[in-house]
Symmetry: C2
Subunit: 410 residues, 2 copies
């Protein structure tokens, strides 16, 4: 009945937004049917949900709830901010983001506070993608990028990422990217560090992206969500700090990951003021603003207690190293995450399809992961883990994954 009264395009649009395998939605799946394909018994162990970070294991930035309470007590002025967020908060953040990215940020015109980095991505793509706009999407990359482009009526132009070679070989396929720009691709969106692989683009690659985007007048949206959690010896290059910079550039960040503040839904986008203006207009009809009281928690960001960030990075690096040992020890090819807490091991040929294997992992082994197909439609041989988890539980769960691979290997 509902189908009769909406047009087909709407039906197709929402089919493309299918979210049953999206991280966090696993609870809506019916796992009962797995009994028919399951081999052997259940594997015992502490349940680990690698679909997102565990904020009970790595807790929110110290005192975040007190900053929140300060915001609440401030009352009306904090409840009803401009749609782009409270100016007082933007002024503080602009300075810190300027320092972090080595490039000026104007608090009034070049910065918007959003409901999480998801909100920032939605607004940035909504502000730059219309019906027919060609958008270069890295594969694999954050699953929502592709969905957003389709939702706004744009056309996805895939650009493959090399991530399983030597660090010097990793990066975008520049031939494909330049060809895309020549063929009228107007927007490039990508995450750095890359989600799901954890690789960081080299300074050379970032510079090359900047030069190409500038040459073809393309808009670049770069999602730097995990850029603060940079592992020992790694170097991070900010696209916005390049000598030749794209004229239309939006950088997206937020305190949901490294800082475990996801429960507050906070993100920022900063860059070209004309795009920021559009993003604010869109925010006005999407959800008005990031929750007012929550905006006050931004004050903790880039302002953590001394040593806190270094310690957090060290702890994640230790988990990373041990996970790499487990997976590589079982011959599962895995890129070394250079930043962030994503890990993307490649599986051998299995007797069940990837989605079934992922569901079996949850049902039989108490391990939740995200299938590679969420990050690149044709990729069906890898799984993504967010290893911001209790150290020991994560390693045990990784061993169960290896065991499950052995059980279901062809």
């Amino acid at each position: 009945m509902f189908d009769n009264c909406v047009n087909k395009s709407l039906e197709a649009k929402f089919e493309a937004l299918e979210a049953d395998n999206a991280p966090g939605q696993e609870v809506r799946q019916d796992l009962g049917v797995l009994e028919n394909v399951m081999r052997g018994g259940k594997l015992k162990g502490v349940p680990v949900d690698f679909s997102h970070g565990d904020v009970n294991a790595f807790t929110p930035t110290p005192d975040s709830e007190n900053y929140w309470l300060e915001g609440f007590k401030q009352g009306g002025s904090q409840a009803y901010t401009e749609y782009r967020g409270a100016l007082s908060v933007r002024e503080i953040l602009a300075k810190r983001l300027e320092k972090f990215t080595n490039t000026p940020v104007l608090p009034d015109s070049e910065l918007i506070l959003t409901p999480g980095t998801q909100g920032a991505l939605f607004l940035a793509l909504g502000a730059t993608v219309a019906s027919g706009t060609k958008v270069a999407i890295v594969e694999p990359d954050y699953f929502a990028n592709r969905k957003l482009v389709k939702f706004f009526g744009g056309e996805v132009v895939p650009v493959p990422l090399c991530y399983l070679g030597e660090p010097s070989e990793n990066g975008l396929n520049f031939n494909t990217l330049e060809k895309a720009f020549k063929n009228d691709t107007k927007v490039l969106v990508f995450s750095n560090p890359n989600n799901p692989t954890g690789i960081v683009y080299s300074e050379e690659v970032i510079n090359k992206i900047a030069v190409l985007a500038n040459k073809y007048n393309a808009t670049v949206i770069v999602d730097q969500l995990y850029s603060r959690m940079l592992y020992n010896g790694e170097i991070y290059a900010h696209l916005r700090a390049c000598k030749v910079r794209p004229k239309n550039l939006i950088t997206i960040m937020g305190p949901s990951k490294t800082e475990s503040l996801s429960g507050y839904r906070l993100g920022v986008a900063f860059g070209t003021s004309k795009i920021i203006d559009r993003m604010e207009r869109l925010q006005a009809i999407v959800s008005l603003r990031a929750a007012g009281y929550n905006q006050a928690v931004f004050k903790t960001w880039f302002n953590e207690p001394k040593g806190w960030l270094e310690n957090r990075i060290e702890q994640h690096e230790a988990i990373r190293d041990e996970l790499l040992e487990v997976f590589r020890g079982a011959n599962l090819k895995t890129a070394t995450p250079q930043a962030g807490s994503y890990l993307f091991p490649k599986l051998p040929a299995l007797s069940v399809d990837l989605n079934t294997f992922v569901r079996l992992l949850r049902y039989q082994a108490n391990v939740t992961v995200t299938p590679a197909s969420e990050f690149a439609p044709h990729l069906n041989d890898s799984i993504r883990l967010n290893f911001s988890q209790d150290h020991d539980a994560a390693i045990e769960a990784a061993k169960r994954i290896v065991k499950m691979v052995e059980i279901y290997a062809l």
Copy 2:
């Protein structure tokens, strides 16, 4: 430069989202130029911002911050909920909304928690409006409805509202509405109580809407944001409780107004499960979920201390009555708000246009209001006040409005 690299449709789309006169955005206006048209000196008085409720005058539901803190302390399970919101919260709310609307609500399939009612409206229209969809919009009505339809590529079909007659005469023009449905209008969206006038649709009118929508298989989205603050002697009819109910119906509510919880950005939508499913898929790419910790504050809703709601209604009714006296005493025709805290006085012919008068009000008289044109494009003779303000300050500010009308009357 930016214009070169995006298509024209995007430019037009964002022009239609112009938000300079939207409530809360006044701070971004340059008022200096007003010196040239200003007559006489500034009018002294406590500044009053009628563009939204004053949560310092009418404070949030008691203990909301402690409920929030409980959510925060719950940790991961409250930070990462399903996109449609925590099931534990939905189970509590479904029962309360069922009681309030006299109609069952299934917590798992018929209810979604959203970032404010703005978020709910965005998702509901995004789930039902595609390129070319005709949508009936009441005029005047909440300004974002029209913008949302345009943003999703739909076509606005205006349906006039009569609101300045006797209560029995007030309501929709049913000839226009039925003609619209006959001409392939697939969606009707409206607020009840009406924003900006404060009138409540009679049971008869609501029934007639339900019957018509059902007859023509139209989807109805009804924004009942202010339906709890019902004044003495008034009766509220829930569309979803009608005997003949539209098959596709979404009801939207939230605790931002009567309960002054706007700083938390919380709203709900409930109704047809297929639409709720789509709304969740859209939520997944818009901002994932209503801020996790904030969702815990829903537990205060429909659960306020005994007498709290009655007291709040009484206080607003007293302000309403005195404001009506002030405006009607100056011959400004004003509908009697039957619920909520919006008031929509009609102004006489002025020597300046409405936007200039509204800016003068702010600059010269320290009073912020919203121009009628935000609620109906061709309406330029009224202003909207949200009178959820400090009682005395509101009355004094209303007197300054009357004085300003006298100064600028033709």
